[in-house]
């Protein structure tokens, strides 16, 4: 296959008519270029939208309480109820395959009166009572100090981890944060850490203006008792939270004496389901990209096939001579197939290279002009390029097949007679 003579011959044949070869190659080049650009554009959109999900663990649901809409077991309609700390334990005991169950309490900041004071600075921030696991579900980068830990929970330490936004507003530039105190609704907390969240768009600013304190200290400081405001529940990898959510909700209904058919008493948001919806959209988009790209490529392949047929026709006599001299038909067939594959691969590679340069250009442009909404880092993976190459080899084979067949269909004696 890698004989020098064969390659020499392939080059000789393809360079006999440069202009024609280049025109033919352009069809395949164009097809693969469009395939690559479509796929990378799809990927860019995907990256952009996925970035909006941020780093949040996507296999997660959030659950909170509302008022009942059905009377049940002697209890009236419209009853308010609260999740309790025991509910968390009950969920972890009864529902398998859960990775994190984080009960959370929250003081609303946004749109409320200022609830945090430090010296003469005040601000309105979201203050969360949390367990240390929350950092896995709602990831953030600790820029200074540390995050909450289990001892903070057990000893009910009055400590706080503050966001970059909080720090900017309450502290002077360069001022030491760790060890200082902030007053949250009149209760002093010592700052032990600062964080920064990665986020791409609008709500980024608010995400930096949060304060995390231990769940237990929060309950005690702000008189929550055993109440749990809401929960963030993440399933183990390999199990979707969507398949577990019914069980979790009905467990809660059971524990709080809610009518099993009361669909409104327990509120929840299934992030995984939303994420999957977006995922399947991208699946459809890449299908369309492949579909359109391959159709365009197909017209290029037909062009190659066409030209190979003409080349074979032109070389009928030569092929006759070769066969008279004893070249076996399979060798001739192989020669034609290799010419066709070589042509498609070379032009396809050119398409891939130009496509990559194009993507590089778009990325450079995006970098230079700042982020565009819902579009980020268009790219094609090595996997896609390998698929494209595979498609090229297959299409080269396809394009060469009919011409190769027609090359050996003519009997050598007839081939020799043609002028």
């Amino acid at each position: 296959m890698f004989k020098r003579d064969r390659w020499q011959e392939i080059i000789e044949v393809l360079t006999t008519n440069w202009f024609r070869t280049v025109l033919t190659a352009f069809g395949v080049f164009w097809g693969i270029l469009i395939l690559i650009i479509l796929l990378s554009a799809g990927k860019g959109l995907e990256n952009g939208i996925k970035a909006d999900f941020g780093d949040i663990a996507t296999n997660t649901m959030f659950m909170w309480t509302r008022s009942t809409t059905k009377a049940h077991m002697g209890l009236p309609i419209g009853r308010r109820f609260q999740f309790k700390v025991d509910d968390v334990k009950s969920i972890s005991e009864n529902i398998p395959n859960l990775r994190f169950i984080s009960p959370r309490n929250q003081l609303r900041g946004f749109g409320n009166d200022n609830n945090v004071v430090r010296g003469i600075n005040t601000g309105a921030y979201n203050v969360y009572g949390d367990y240390p696991e929350i950092i896995n579900q709602d990831p953030m980068t600790i820029t200074e100090g540390r995050f909450l830990n289990q001892n903070d929970i057990l000893e009910k330490r009055k400590i706080a981890v503050i966001g970059a936004g909080v720090r900017n507003e309450l502290y002077d530039r360069g001022e030491e944060v760790i060890g200082s105190y902030i007053k949250i609704q009149g209760v002093n907390f010592m700052v032990v850490g600062a964080y920064k969240k990665r986020s791409s768009d609008g709500d980024g600013e608010e995400a930096q203006k949060e304060i995390f304190v231990p769940f237990t200290s929060f309950s005690q400081a702000f008189n929550m008792g055993n109440d749990v405001g809401w929960m963030a529940i993440t399933a183990s990898d390999g199990t979707s939270i969507s398949s577990l959510k019914e069980d979790i909700v009905s467990l809660m209904k059971n524990r709080h004496k809610i009518h099993p058919e009361d669909t409104r008493a327990v509120g929840y948001f299934d992030l995984y389901e939303q994420y999957n919806r977006v995922e399947s959209l991208f699946g459809a988009m890449s299908f369309i990209a492949y579909f359109v790209g391959i159709l365009v490529l197909l017209s290029g392949i037909i062009g190659v096939s066409n030209i190979m047929l003409i080349v074979v026709k032109e070389r009928t006599k030569e092929i006759g001579i070769r066969r008279a001299l004893g070249e076996d038909p399979w060798s001739i067939k192989k020669q034609i197939l290799m010419e066709s594959i070589f042509l498609t691969i070379v032009s396809g590679m050119a398409g891939i290279i130009i496509g990559a340069l194009f993507i590089y250009g778009v990325n450079a442009l995006l970098d230079a002009n700042g982020p565009v909404d819902m579009f980020l880092n268009p790219s094609v993976s090595l996997g896609v390029v390998s698929i494209a190459l595979l498609i090229l080899v297959l299409s080269g084979l396809l394009a060469g097949f009919i011409p190769a067949q027609s090359a050996i269909k003519v009997k050598p004696i007839d081939a020799l007679r043609t002028e």
Binding site: G326, S331, I413
Partner: protein, 233 residues
Amino acid sequence: MIEIKDLHKSYKMGSNALHVLKGINFTVEEGELVAIMGSSGSGKSTLLNILGMLDVADSGEYTLDGVPIKNLNETKAANYRNKFLGFVFQSFNLINYKSALENVALPLYYQRVPRKERQERAMKYLDQVGLKEWANHLPSELSGGQNQRVAIARAMASEPKVLLADEPTGALDSKTSYEVMDLIQKINDQGNTILVVTHEDDIAHMCKRIVYLKDGVIVEDKKVKQVRASAHV
């Protein structure tokens, strides 16, 4: 060397068949130089094509160097042609984008002879036909006689058992024709078996035996006194 018995061949021309060879019996010994003569349509080219395994007979036996030639598929035929036969055509049939040397080396390539050895052997045969200095020229840069000599070198390169020449001088003027015949005679002198199809009397008489074909049958088969071509050059 060649033995054929009761060879028949007909071509279909629309609804009626054209019976071209009507029972040919014919033997060629090793080292013979045979001319096959006949007017056009006598079946001489068809006979040569069948001998050259470019065409198959309808019936009859064909044995080449003790090997029965029958039930050939294309691959087998190609293999036999490559091993047993050398072809010289009226129109040279050189591959026009390959140099003289590459053309001569082609049959050896199909025998999977390594590149270096192939070129050495091709050069040896080019030297024998006196075209060593023209080895790297394309056929379009050579004269008709030179091209035919390249073709003969190519036919000889695979060291065939039989050399088949179909009107080897048909496209050449008489002076070059004699040069080519001289070469063919010399090759024959080395003991090679050669069949020449021709319709020119003088060319035929430079062979050792003449077979006359008419309407698909052999009408005369005689040994002649060979006229040396070198006398005319």
